[in-house]
Amino acid sequence: MSRTDPTTPPERNRRRLGGRAQARRRLGALRDPVIVIFVLAGTFDLLSGDRLIDGAVLLAVALALGWDAVRRPPAERRADEVADAGEDSMRSARGRAVQWRSPLLVLGGVVYAVLVAAFIRYSLPATLAVWAPAAAGVAVAWRRPVTGGSDPAPVPAAGAVAWAVVFVALALWELAALLLQPSLTTDSWAHPTISVLLDPILATHLGRAVVLSLWLLSGWWLLRR
């Protein structure tokens, strides 16, 4: 009785190549700017003494994206996305039949914002009402193939850099305000973060309704990209 030796040279080569491919994917995940941004944001959020859930969500997104990048080779990901694209285009066609600015959708969004704004911030009803669309949005983005939509026009590098400068400046200004507070966990009116500036607005029902409407609208707009 002879058994195939699992450590024959071809088998060893295959394993070695497989190991190298996985190491490359791990390295690729570490270099993905989106994952890096989420790791940094989550780390600073936890350091700032913010609620644990905020930092945990950011780090969970980074972990999930990293896991996805390592688990599936790029070629396999592309194949899956192409396979899903046909199904997605049919869904898109059906989706286009429902006008995104239809009065019913707008009415639904306004009713949602007015109702949820009636809840106290960070209460259980407010938490459930905000987590539901947030989780649904992320689930849709996770499931949706990236090749499904129309191909956007190339973006000039200089223009992309200009936009990046604006967002990086905003992040650094916010970080500077945070570091100039008496302590990371103590709000400062002298050096307000965006959260501190928004607190008076979000203290009123109207303010919460407007911000929730804008949040919902921007999420809907982003999902249609």
């Binding site: 905020d54 950011l58 009402a129 947030a134 990236v146 223009g159 200004w173 009116w189 928004l198």
Partner: protein
């Protein structure tokens, strides 16, 4: 000008810079793309697509949910 005013002025300036870029993008032959085009480009990758939507979701959770 107090520290508060200076900090707020910084935020306003940054937002105005974004508004200016968006307005410049509307000009014919402008090298500045509209924000929507940049986001569409970013969302052409899986991590970009999930990242942008997760960022949006996080804003809602941060301000309203626990």
């Amino acid at each position: 000008m107090s520290s508060h005013d200076l900090t707020v002025a910084g935020y306003v300036l940054i937002v105005l810079a974004g508004v200016c870029l968006q307005l410049l993008s509307a000009r014919e032959g402008s090298p500045i793309p509209p924000l929507g085009a940049v986001l569409s480009r970013v969302m052409r990758t899986r991590s970009g697509q999930v990242g942008v939507i997760a960022g949006w979701a996080w804003i809602g959770i941060h301000f309203f949910a626990r």
